[in-house]
């Protein structure tokens, strides 16, 4: 069966999504178990696949039995093996953690919600596993469409921000498709490895250069890279908890994976870094992204919105790291995909718990939370110090690689930006801790004098256990960073890049 892992990763969630939508009409209680079972199979297959890749190297799976480039093929190497495992595990943990909040927020629409949830995971896993540039676009469409639906379920301004996201996301996807179209005209192929083989003769062609630029800009829109980021904060803030803790950790990270795949596999580092002399300006752009993300986060008075601006700064980390053009920076960027997905999941799950109990994430709502929800806040602290970059949490190590890469490339602006953003994160998170810790819980009945100690009112166990698992993973990944880099990421980067 292990030969079929690449197909199972995508096919099992797809079939389950259809079964869930049927179950939604027959008996709603079946939806959740099917969701968890499907995501567990996907997670099991992707971890199994990662271990197979570690043993055997690149795995090719021919869909429909046709040889590439006639048919579509899946290529699983160390790079997407790692990202697949992260995506499927994050999706599984979030599905378990958000059961209660889904039941609370839209009890009569559980079936369609889980259907879109699982379809979205299918789309994200499909984007990562595929070795075909057009197949990637189709899965991108699925991930995007379902994402718009999941975000628009948020009340209030949710639908409006989802509409805004829809416009931007559609433009981004169109740009990517246009770029693939240009590549197809020039090479006649859609298979990534095949295109990479044909391109060297065409490196001087203007059309190939344009294809590269259009694809890159499209992917940047999708990942909310700084000047193109405007859709992200509102969309993620107004989404329901269950959606935002799926979409915030995964979508931007998967798009960064796509960018790295474009750089490393389709266009090769030789073309991306040497023939096109654009690395320096792009790293400067990411410096601006980091600064702006950090500064805009400072002015927010809503915890969830503050975190969305931190995501924008983190996107700057990874784009900059990938474009430094050296091995250490690329290692940092790839490692940060995994780490950032996990720590974003950690803080968003914690916020989900808070919203579940307090019904809001404005700073005023957070007062006295340490006493009220000590376990949630404990996990939130671990996520926060990982985002700041304190050892032994994983955030420290990827930031370390990024800074080393910046020094090696002689790009001190990027180094300064990373340090600045870490300091701002310290300010941001300690301000939140202060509000949660010191100020008394506001008493709505106006009895300002007699302060009853607010009774503990913690989120349900099903929400806490996944949160603790994520927090533990943050520390574990930090402790095993050396193994991850030496056994996985080392082989994910082509030898040519030094």
């Amino acid at each position: 069966m292990s030969l079929q892992y690449p197909a199972l990763i995508v096919v099992v969630p797809l079939l389950s999504a259809l079964v869930i939508s049927i179950a939604g009409w027959v008996n709603k209680r079946w939806c959740f178990p099917i969701t968890v079972a499907a995501l567990a199979v996907a997670a099991y297959s992707s971890v199994g696949l990662l271990f197979r890749v570690l043993d055997e190297g690149v795995i090719v799976y021919k869909l429909g039995g046709w040889d590439p480039p006639m048919g579509i093929a899946y290529y699983v190497d160390h790079l997407n093996g790692l990202v697949l495992a992260v995506v499927s595990i994050v999706a599984l943990l979030n599905a378990i953690a958000s059961k209660k909040s889904i039941e609370q927020e839209f009890p009569e629409k559980i079936g369609p919600f889980y259907t879109l949830y699982v379809l979205m995971v299918t789309g994200l896993l499909g984007i990562v596993v595929t070795g075909d540039a057009f197949n990637l676009y189709v899965l991108l469409e699925i991930a995007a469409l379902t994402g718009y639906g999941l975000i628009a379920m948020g009340g209030g301004r949710g639908p409006l921000s989802a509409l805004n996201y829809l416009y931007m996301g559609t433009i981004g996807a169109c740009f990517y498709l246009l770029g693939v179209g240009y590549l197809y005209i020039m090479t006649g192929s859609l298979n990534m490895v095949d295109i990479a083989g044909i391109l060297p003769d065409l490196y001087q062609s203007k059309a190939v250069m344009a294809a590269f630029i259009i694809c890159m800009v499209g992917v940047w829109i999708k990942m909310a890279f700084f000047p193109l980021h405007a859709w992200l904060p509102n969309a993620y803030t107004h989404a329901p908890s269950a959606s935002s803790s799926l979409i915030a950790p995964l979508v931007t990270k998967v798009m960064i994976y796509v960018m790295i795949r474009l750089i490393l596999t389709i266009f090769t580092p030789e073309f991306s870094f040497n023939i096109l002399a654009v690395s320096k300006p792009i790293v400067w752009l990411s410096v601006i992204a980091i600064f702006m993300g950090a500064i805009l986060a400072l002015k927010e008075r809503n915890l969830k919105k503050m975190l969305t601006y931190i995501i924008i700064a983190e996107v700057g980390y990874m784009v900059g790291g990938a474009w430094l053009g050296n091995r250490v920076g690329m290692t940092g960027a790839i490692l940060h995909i995994a780490n950032d997905a996990l720590m974003t999941l950690c803080v968003f799950l914690a916020v989900g718990n808070i919203v579940y109990k307090v019904k809001g994430a404005e700073f005023e709502d957070l007062q006295g939370l340490f006493r009220k929800m000590p376990f949630t806040m404990g996990a939130f602290i671990i996520g926060a110090i990982s985002m700041i970059g304190v050892p032994p949490t994983c955030g420290f190590f990827s930031k370390w690689y990024l800074i080393s890469g910046a020094i090696q490339a002689g790009h001190y602006g990027f180094m300064v930006a990373l340090l600045f953003s870490s300091l701002v994160n310290v300010v941001l998170f300690f301000r939140v801790f202060e509000i949660c810790f010191y100020e008394p819980f506001s008493d709505h009945h106006g009895h300002g004098h007699d302060r009853h100690p607010e009774p503990m009112d913690e989120a349900p166990v099903t929400m806490l256990v996944p949160l603790f698992i994520v927090a533990a993973i943050l520390v574990l990944v930090g402790l095993y960073t050396g193994d991850i880099v030496n056994h996985i990421i080392e082989f994910a980067i082509p030898k040519g890049l030094v």
Binding site: A7, L15, L18, S21, L63, E141, I185, S189
Partner: protein, 275 residues
């Protein structure tokens, strides 16, 4: 802001046109797109899949995996519209309106009140526009022929332009025409919401399930030649039959999604008389 937008649009357009200078000439027989993979498809499709229509073979077999996900895209769109628009919590109106079809008399029935037992009443909304007799009759006459043509388009995709997507859209359009020419309640009576939603999933399930069956029979996902042992034909013919099976799945999924989206959008998720 408008001026910035205009400048950006012009710059992007200029880049695309500038880059297009390197393209091969129009209909150049020596261009990469027509020399690299196309000869294989043109020469080998009949031999490898026994489907005379090359486009169908590329769409549903060589790149069948993409097509499966295109069907899923349509399914997700329908599902997203349903998730967002459908309102299950009814704001119960104080009174319902019924129209006596033969006399045109409108009855207003208060909450808890009952109608006289008769089939001559139809439920209407308070804002009701009368049906036009000519439109109603012409559409009733047309719809069966539209549906027959749709089935032909689905079934004949192997030989002529057509296939599941096109046929499915035509089938869906026939039901939507019924909803437009009469009202949504009439159409939903023919095609209930639950049936429609279930068929949506079943359609995609036929496609993905065929792929999974190939996987269970020991070959790769969507490798239709594995169906040979089930269908009792040789492995080349099995590919042709596999394509027909998935086209039927696509047809069902597309038809139901079209109807589903129309129903939800036209009635704002309330499933009243619509539009």
């Amino acid at each position: 802001m408008k001026i910035i937008g205009l400048i950006v649009a012009i710059l992007v357009g200029a880049l695309l046109v500038y880059a297009a200078a390197d393209f091969p000439a129009w209909s150049d027989p020596a261009s990469p797109a027509s020399t690299y993979l196309s000869p294989h498809f043109i020469e080998k499709t009949m031999e490898e899949t026994s489907v005379p229509n090359i486009v169908t073979a590329v769409l549903a077999d060589y790149r069948g995996f993409d097509t499966m996900f295109e069907t899923t895209v349509i399914f997700s769109a329908g599902m997203a519209v349903f998730l967002l628009l459908r309102t299950f919590r009814r704001e119960e109106p104080e009174a319902r309106h019924y129209r006596h079809v033969l006399t045109g008399v409108t009855l207003r029935v208060k909450e808890g009140g009952e109608l006289p037992p008769s089939d001559d009443f139809e439920r209407i909304d308070s804002l009701w526009t009368p049906h036009d007799l000519i439109i109603k009759t012409v559409c009733r006459l047309l719809i069966p022929f539209i549906q027959l043509f749709a089935l032909y388009v689905i079934a004949h995709g192997h030989h002529s332009p057509g296939g599941g997507f096109q046929g499915g859209v035509i089938l869906g359009a026939s039901i939507i025409l019924l909803a437009i020419s009469q009202d949504l309640r009439t159409a939903v009576k023919r095609m209930a919401e639950k049936l429609d939603a279930l068929l949506c999933s079943v359609g995609v399930l036929i496609y993905a399930g065929t792929g999974a069956l190939c996987l269970l029979l020991g070959l790769n996902f969507l490798d239709y030649s594995a169906l040979a042992s089930v269908l009792h034909v040789d492995s080349i013919m099995a590919r042709s039959h596999g394509i027909l099976i998935v086209e039927i799945g696509v047809g069902i999924a597309v038809m139901c999604t079209m109807i589903w989206i129309y129903n939800n959008v036209s009635s704002g998720g309330k499933y009243n008389q619509g539009l």
